[in-house]
């Protein structure tokens, strides 16, 4: 019995978090919850691609999936809400990933979650409008009905200063170049698009049409969207029309509001203790913020919080212990506190 895609996905995630985190940490990850805990876990366990992959997933759906994995002997409960893969689960999963990459190659929920749905809303409307312009059809009902999206598309088209044909041709060229380079199946995206004489499919219809499980379809769809975003953001010169769709919102990943305030104070040179006092918050909260900042900013310097030598010893200890349990690291680096360990792990999570 081969694994279905969704089974493989959940096993993959459980393998990553082992029995160190509960199934609800996965729930928050898929939902894209913006809490320091969820964000740190995503980095610590290398699950950032899946951040906000399934915002409509319910607890019940996740729970029943876990029960079915248990019933099939793929997952074993270690403690309430904590699971590990059975030998069979390990075997099946390793077999599965030889056939299909997990996660899909370009999936990067953490990097693009704030752009994904907006990009899709704008792109799908833009293609519909451009298609109707090219084919001189004046009356049609827009597939997106948010006023701000409608206003945006009008403004976007005006700014391009292109003829109808040039606009259609330009979007066609950029999109098809992107889709050819991407390893995913382009139909996953193109099926969803609406043109002058054909209405696009809903995501469920497209999944059924392509005979994919809905979970699988969703990840493939995100994979392609993230690939396009990657191309547009990294090489805007090659894809000016696509990049233009999100140029107004390409900001570095935003902090949570409270973290942002802490960050502003750090930049002014305040220590964590001072910030806690000024903001009337607990020190541990401020420390959470700093860990979140370290996750986001590649060039955030830890020196002020953990001396270089201690950083190295913590990393060494982390490599010696397979589990990412902070306690095991702490046992090896007696002079480090949990904040210091979490901070170093946050900074280096992706490398270990």
């Amino acid at each position: 019995m081969a694994l279905s895609y969704s089974e493989a996905l959940f096993l993959y995630c459980f393998k990553k978090i082992k029995d160190e985190r509960t199934i609800y940490s996965l729930f928050h990850l898929f939902q894209g919850k913006k809490s320091s805990q969820t964000i740190q876990d995503a980095h610590l366990y290398n699950l950032t691609p899946f951040f906000q992959a399934f915002p409509f997933l319910t607890r019940q759906e996740l729970e029943s999936k876990v029960i079915s994995l248990q019933n099939k002997g793929l997952l074993i409960q270690k403690a309430p809400e904590h699971f590990i893969l059975s030998d069979k689960g390990e075997r099946e999963l390793s077999l599965f990933v030889t056939r299909r990459p997990m996660p899909p190659r370009y999936l990067d929920g953490w990097k693009y979650h704030h752009l994904t749905s907006l990009f899709w809303q704008r792109l799908s409307l833009l293609v519909q409008v451009a298609s109707n312009l090219v084919h001189q059809k004046r009356q049609f009902i827009p597939v997106q009905n948010k006023q701000e999206t409608l206003d945006w598309v009008k403004d976007y088209i005006r700014r391009q200063n292109l003829s109808r044909e040039e606009l259609g041709h330009g979007i066609f060229k950029e999109l098809s170049h992107c889709l050819i380079q991407c390893e995913g199946e382009p139909a996953v995206l193109v099926r969803r698009l609406t043109g002058h004489d054909r209405i696009g499919l809903t995501s469920i219809q497209a999944a059924d049409e392509l005979e994919m499980e809905h979970v699988h379809y969703r990840l493939e769809f995100l994979n392609i969207v993230h690939f396009i975003l990657h191309k547009a953001v990294e090489t805007p010169g090659c894809f000016p029309l696509l990049d233009g769709i999100i140029r107004d919102i390409e900001k570095p990943v935003p902090f949570t509001l409270s973290t942002e305030k802490t960050y502003q104070l750090i930049k002014k040179g305040y220590t964590p203790g001072q910030i806690a006092q000024v903001r009337n918050l607990k020190l541990s909260t401020i420390e959470d913020h700093i860990v979140e900042i370290a996750l986001h900013l590649k060039d955030f310097d830890l020196e002020a919080y953990v001396p270089k030598s201690k950083q190295e010893r913590i990393l060494q200890a982390a490599q010696n212990t397979s589990a990412k349990k902070l306690k095991q690291i702490r046992d090896q680096v007696a002079d480090a506190n949990y904040f210091e360990i979490r901070l170093v792990m946050a900074k280096n999570g992706d490398k270990s």
């Binding site: 293609v127 451009a130 090219v134 009902i141 066609f172 098809s176 698009l193 209405i199």
Partner: protein, 499 residues
Amino acid sequence: MNLEQALNRYFQFPSFKPGQKETIQSILAGRHAIAMLPTGTGKSLCYQLPGYMLDGPVLIVSPLLSLMQDQVEQLKGRGEKRVVALNSFLTPIEKRNALSSLQNYKFIFISPEMLGTRLVINKLKSLRISLIAIDEAHCISQWGYDFRPDYLKLGEVRQVLGNPATLALTATATEEVRKDIARLLKLDSWDEHVLSVDRPEISMSVEILGQQEKLQRAFELVSNLQGPGIIYFSSRKMAEHVAAFLRDKGEQAMAYHGGLDQESRILIQQQFLNGQFNVVCATSAFGMGINKGDIRYVIHYHLSLQLESYLQEIGRAGRDGNKSLAVLLYAPGDEQLSYQLAEAELPESAQVGRLFALIREKCFEPDDVEENAEFLSASCGFSETQWRIVANFLKSLRQEPAERLKEQIERFAEKRLLIKKSQIENMVRYILHDGCKREYIHYHFGEKHCFEVTNCCSFCGLDFVNFRKHLASPELPIQYDWKKELASMLLAQAGDFNE
């Protein structure tokens, strides 16, 4: 310029549809009018054309945001820019802007709740309103099929605005409801233009069968009948279930209901309009404001809550004037589901009790109640429909003691439930009526005339052969070539995309 010329000039139509001209003549002669014209026969033209011929703006009262939006878009689509919609979707800034420039508009759409504020009334008073059109006017009567208490103030609003010509529009209103409309709108005299609710091109069939046989029968019908068609359900889950069942059997069926996300709803509706699939399994959320001429059948898997809404729903078939079929599948006991649905639309006594306890507990003043509407509604578990009723009563919190208000709401709910139950009973009587189904409809709406219709109904005899599938269902391309598809969307000449 005579009326036909005006019609041609403003709308490029060659001639009027039945009922339109008479209605418009009444209005232009300065008389009030109640017009009952079946859906899809161009009710909106009855106020739009006079709008162009009279001085001063037309005020259109419309109860549903989606309907209002459709009409506004329709007008704008024809190039009319002097259109504005005043409803609760406007942000405070948008509302202020719209109000301050109201004199620039020819067509002012307004939701009934907006007519409750003095600011709006005063602004309207300063304009010289030439005509008030009241859409879905049956909402004013508690015997109408969608009673809205906030319609009751329209009589007073009319008088405050100086008794301008008033046009009450409805698609389905019994004689009793029409009398109610005139009385509650405080019309002294009026013309009535009533077209029969009967649509001779629609054959009406009722099939009584066992609960277990329904699904199979629905499938039989779908596989034999010429589409496109609609199947109506009372429950989202059943709509999904039957759609999936039909798809499994090789039919092109999709579900449509209020539980879908916005994007899917738009897409599925548009796919259906565009002929990309054949059968839509829908709740009553489907069909409002959509105009598809070639719907060949409407099947009811569950019964509608009133004969009026049943007629509205089957009336979506055969708009092109060609023969169509309505089939109602009834299993004894189906009305239980209807009773449950009717009850769920009304506030429950326990919820109302909790509401007033909460208001007391928090020491809310009338202003606080308004401001915390969302909180109150959510804490007491009111649905949107329930809350609309409650909120309407809460407006009198300033004048009435809470205890009395609570009683009023409860009494109101009890009374409404009785009415709704009697409407469901009437629906069942229609189903069980051992005689011509069309005759029953005539009788219910107080219509006298009766004409011969071939394939009239399941009592008079009707031959399903007339509705047999003869055109192949639309087919999806077998080989999907994404690049070709993308090229045909975006390139003027789809051939040369492999550069």
